[in-house]
């Protein structure tokens, strides 16, 4: 997943082809479905004919022919299913997909179908395995139906199939007035805007899929924007990306919703425009609007004990939870034990109740991505965050901008190729940034360092010490005078026998030179006290 900056050209080309293959999934998947249905129909027809039980030669010949055709179809299905599954696996790795149960099940079913039809093909024409052949064929058909349904939910949104039975709210007339100031922003957003976004946007920009890293299913998500930046412009509402995208001509690449998808009607578009021009008021999101380099007042969440049940739940899921210090209500949470299987939806559910208590969080090596951004933005006490080898992108970085205490951020082994300096705005306390193998452009690192000279940016270079000098050729001689002067344990004897700090007898080895005299001490601590204020001990020296 990580993109290497130094030899990126061939790697990027390969990456592009791999992604292209992945995107063939929605096309390829129709082949195995059609073929599988064809096999099932032929088998059903064959079954019906056999019951009529006339075993004439002509019929036998046609049975043999039919059997051959079915065999060919079986192999064609197996091939198509393997291709489809392969493409699907590649597609699922794209950042747009939020790791979730639906995705996991769809993936599992896809693999199962591919294996199933392979078995169907392998068992074809083997009379002893006929039962297996038929059973697996039926199972594959059932799996295809359910797996296909899950796939539709992924691409068209949850509840796609039953949507016609639900009431679709379409606005008939433009409302007379938009009472933004008096009625509170929450009402306007919740009653009028959210349904429009839910109706036309969140299938692709929502909880299951975040195309362009953008999600529009909640105020926090809207505030975070997507890969092209903020969707709402506070400074110039009329120029908001959201508004622009719905108004560009339908044949434009940037048009949203894209051609072929249902579009908001004029009334709804008008509603959106009025809302945005009124400053796009959103219910309080706990998220400061992102502004570059703002000096945020340090606002501390009230220091209370974390909820015990939420802690117990995390522990039951094998996440490590520990107090940061023995008496602190703040937590260190580490997902190391289950990182390879941790998904966005799990992380959101499990960490949500503890967000204000987390000071140190490691989700390294897990499958989480930008879906966590709103959650991370709520972690006001976060000091250290390790997102190494995750799928996060610029949206997550922007969500971190408002965290007042974030000191250390680990972004190693990520794919932040598209990130810019602006994505690192905010984060007022950031002192340590680790970006080794993050794909971050060198120019971005340099600009960031220039903008924040005190920030320590570790990109994995400059870790080594330089040799300063090396000995000349060695000559072993016995020339040194045999006298042991200067060689013995400390050449000079301390001037005192009693430690000036503690009053105890001095011990060898603990000494300091002070004003040309060697002073002895009783332990390793006393010289430190002496160094702090030598003058005050002068009277205790002989």
């Amino acid at each position: 997943m990580s993109i290497d900056s130094s030899d990126s050209a061939p790697a990027a080309a390969l990456q592009a082809w791999v992604e292209f293959f992945g995107r063939l999934h929605p096309l390829l998947l129709h082949a195995p479905i059609g073929l599988l249905v064809a096999i099932a129909l032929l088998r059903a027809w064959q079954f019906a004919r056999r019951r009529r039980a006339d075993a004439s030669d002509a019929a036998a010949t046609s049975v043999i022919g039919l059997e051959r055709a079915i065999g060919m179809l079986c192999w064609a299905t197996a091939f198509a299913a393997l291709l489809t599954a392969g493409a699907g696996l590649v597609l699922a790795r794209e950042d747009a997909y939020v790791t979730s149960t639906t995705l996991d099940r769809h993936r599992l079913l896809g693999i199962a179908i591919a294996v199933g039809v392979l078995i169907v093909a392998l068992t074809h024409g083997r009379p002893r395995l006929q039962v297996v052949h038929h059973a697996v064929l039926i199972a594959s058909l059932a799996a295809t139906a359910f797996g296909g349904h899950l796939g539709a939910e992924l691409s068209h949104g949850a509840g796609f199939l039953t949507e016609p039975f639900r009431e679709r709210v379409r606005m008939a007339d433009p409302p007379t007035a938009l009472e933004v100031s008096t009625d509170g922003p929450a009402r306007v957003y919740e009653e009028r805007i959210a349904p429009i976004l839910a109706g036309y946007c969140i299938d692709c920009h929502g909880p299951t899929k975040r195309k362009g890293s953008l999600a529009l299913h909640g105020p926090a998500e809207i505030e975070l924007g997507g890969i092209s930046g903020d969707v709402l412009s506070r400074a110039n509402p009329a120029a908001s990306e959201l508004l622009r995208r719905v108004h560009v001509p339908i044949d434009d690449d940037e048009c949203m919703p894209p051609a072929g998808k249902p579009r908001p009607n004029a009334a709804e578009l008008d509603e959106l425009r009025r809302w945005i021009e009124a400053g796009a008021p959103l219910p309080a999101t706990e998220l400061e609007p992102i502004a570059p380099q703002v000096e945020l007042p340090v606002q501390r969440a009230s220091v209370v004990e974390p909820p015990a049940d939420a802690v117990a739940k995390l522990r039951a899921k094998l996440l490590h939870v520990q107090r940061r210090t023995p008496d602190s209500p703040l937590l260190w949470i580490d997902a190391a034990a289950i990182a390879p299987t941790l998904r966005d939806d799990q992380a959101l559910e499990w960490l949500g109740p503890l967000a204000p208590h987390i000071a140190d969080l490691s989700l390294a090596r897990s499958g989480v991505g930008d879906a966590l951004a709103p959650l991370l933005a709520r972690m006001e006490r976060l000091e250290r965050l390790d997102l190494s080898a995750t799928r996060i992108g610029p949206v997550t970085l922007r969500a971190l901008g408002g965290l007042p205490e974030l000191r250390e951020l680990v972004l190693t082994r990520t794919a932040l190729v598209t990130c810019t300096v602006e994505d690192f705005a905010g984060m007022p306390a950031l002192a340590n940034l680790r970006v080794w193998n993050s794909g971050l452009q060198r120019s971005v690192i340099e600009a960031l360092q220039a903008a924040r000279p005190n920030l320590r940016i570790d990109d994995g270079t400059d870790l080594r010490s330089q040799p300063l000098e090396t000995e000349e050729a060695l000559a072993l001689t016995s020339d040194a005078p045999l006298s042991t002067a200067g060689a013995e344990a400390p050449a000079a004897v301390p001037i005192n026998t009693i430690c000036p700090v503690s009053g105890a007898p001095i011990k060898p080895g603990f000494t300091r030179e002070h004003e040309g005299r060697l002073i002895g001490f009783c332990c390793n601590q006393c010289p430190l006290a002496f160094d702090a204020d030598p003058g005050s001990f002068a009277a205790k020296l002989p």
Binding site: D4, P306, A308, V311, A312, R315, L318, H320, Q322, R323, T325, P326, D334, A336, A337, I338, A339, P340, A364, R365, D386, S388, E408, V410, T412, R413, N432, R434, W436, N437, D458, L463, R464, S465, Q466, P467, L468, E469, T470, E471, L474, A475, L476, T477, S478, D479, A480, T484, G486, A487, E488, A489, P490, G509, F510, T511, C523, N524, Q525, L528
Partner: protein, 486 residues
């Protein structure tokens, strides 16, 4: 809950009389019972968020401890003594030796001829005025700005077995818990799917001494805190796969049943070993899933593998162990101990030392670099040490290109890095002969106290009651050396 209270809760009146009834007098019965129960159960099971054993905010979350078994020669590696080059074959002055006891291997020698190091030293930039390291350790030298090199270590033992025992347990006599076991007991696990304390051993090139499993034992601490040794050849853990015909569900059912029986037996006998047994069986079950992922290097990129050197793909080499150590650290294992054998160069030191250094130099430097760039070094203490040092005089025949060195406890060098250790300094001084310490001596107890401090413990308070006495890793000694802390 304090272990002692747990113990008392476990004692019931019925149990008391049952044991009395079995032919013993009441007094004897309770005494016998008491002696049956010297090992209370693990204390860290109380309130949901209790981490009762930490005393202050930790600087480090884990330790990677590289023990160089056999005692590397400080004078050929870290303790730069250019003055000795003009004292080749001179006798060690009595004023330096000061009657020091010697091992039987050199005490009979007629004379103690000075053997200067024949290796060139290089000064590397650090955060002070540079660190002199031997030409045998070029990669380690390049990490000098991360290293805290202590040249003034001293120990009590002059032989390997007591020397390592002292270093690992704070006592020369066997029987106490090892440092890793104390860390496991105090810190608890941060990854329930892997052991808290893992040990790996690399076979050396030179003269090797025995390594006993008790160097990573748990002594009187509950047995689950003992080090789990990964094998150096073949599968790192044996029998990871279930036998043919046994499914994961079968294994689970079997474990549940055996666990239930063990639990009954534990309730009857109060034998804490049974609870440890249950815990370890659970751990083994989880390791069946977690270890294959841990030891599979296929997700490491080529340049990382290259950093550790060509040996990294050979299981059991120091390079492979170092990479595995990093993977364990990444996965939250608290105490990772690497043993490198074969540093006991009584003879043929130059050749053998070079081979040993060739095996460890690049991997250990790679480990530091890899940890640092992944953001792990700040919270991981890395320590590299032998059990004592080696003499400045030659054991056996001294020539200009060959010599041997005997054991030397009065001074030796080690280095630490990361985890709140002060980086880029050289601490302590020895005399011109690298024989006695002249400035800032550091004892093994001081080292233990300092490391425990970095992990969040007051070394005087991390204790365990055993046979009527509270035991500590530092016994009744040790001072936290703040000069070594960043």
């Amino acid at each position: 809950m304090h272990p002692f209270e747990q113990h008392h809760l476990d004692l019931t009146r019925r149990r008391f009389f049952t044991s009395c009834a079995s032919g013993l007098s009441a007094a004897l019965g309770s005494a016998a019972l008491a002696s049956l129960l010297p090992k209370p159960l693990h204390a860290a099971s109380a309130a949901p968020l209790a981490s009762p054993l930490l005393n202050h905010a930790p600087r480090a979350k884990r330790v990677i401890y590289m023990h160089m078994e056999g005692a590397p020669s400080q004078i050929d590696l870290y303790d730069y003594k250019p003055q000795l080059r003009a004292r080749y074959d001179q006798d060690l002055p009595d004023s330096i030796r000061m009657g020091q006891r010697l091992t039987g291997m050199t005490s009979g020698q007629a004379r103690f001829p000075i053997a200067p190091s024949i290796f060139k030293f290089t000064r590397y930039q650090n955060n002070a005025d540079g660190a002199w390291l031997s030409e045998l350790l070029p990669h380690t030298g390049a990490m000098a700005k991360h290293l805290c090199i202590v040249r003034s270590m001293h120990t009590e033992a002059i032989n390997h077995e007591p020397g390592i025992t002292f270093f690992q347990t704070g006592n020369q006599q066997p029987g106490r818990p090892s440092f890793g076991a104390w860390a496991s007991y105090g810190l608890g696990s941060a990854n329930a799917n892997l052991p808290t304390f893992v040990v790996m051993i690399t076979q050396g090139i030179g003269n090797m001494q025995a390594l006993s499993a008790r160097f990573w034992g748990s002594g009187f601490l509950p047995s689950e805190h003992q080090g789990c040794k990964l094998r150096s050849s073949g599968d790192p853990v044996l029998y990871l796969e279930d036998p043919p015909g046994v499914t994961r569900a079968d294994r689970r059912a079997w474990l549940d049943l055996v666990g239930e029986l063990n639990e009954k037996e534990a309730a009857r006998t109060l034998d804490p070993e049974l609870r440890a047994r249950i815990a370890q069986a659970e751990m083994a079950y989880r390791m069946q899933a977690s270890v294959p992922e841990l030891t599979d290097f296929s997700d490491e990129d080529e340049r990382t593998l290259e950093l550790y050197g060509p040996d990294v793909k050979k299981p059991g080499t120091f390079a492979a162990s170092c990479l595995l150590a990093r993977r364990l650290a990444e996965r939250g294992v608290r105490f990772i101990q690497l043993y490198m054998r074969g540093w006991d160069q009584h003879g043929n030191l130059p050749g053998e030392l070079k081979s040993q250094c060739d095996a460890v130099d690049r991997p250990q430097a790679a480990l530091l670099e890899d940890l640092e760039r992944r953001g792990l070094l700040d919270e991981t203490i890395v320590i590299w040490s032998g059990e004592f040092g080696r003499t400045c005089y030659s054991q056996g025949t001294l020539t200009k290109d060959n010599y041997g060195r005997d054991h030397h406890p009065r001074c030796f060098s080690l280095w630490m890095a990361g985890g709140g250790v002060r980086p880029g300094i050289v601490f302590g001084e020895t005399d011109d002969y690298s024989y006695n310490i002249t400035k800032d001596p550091v004892s093994v107890h001081d080292l233990h106290a300092t490391l425990l401090h970095l992990l969040g413990f007051d070394h005087q308070r991390l204790s365990y009651r055993h046979q009527g006495r509270d035991f500590r890793l530092t016994d009744v000694f040790g001072e936290v050396r703040r000069e070594l802390i960043a």
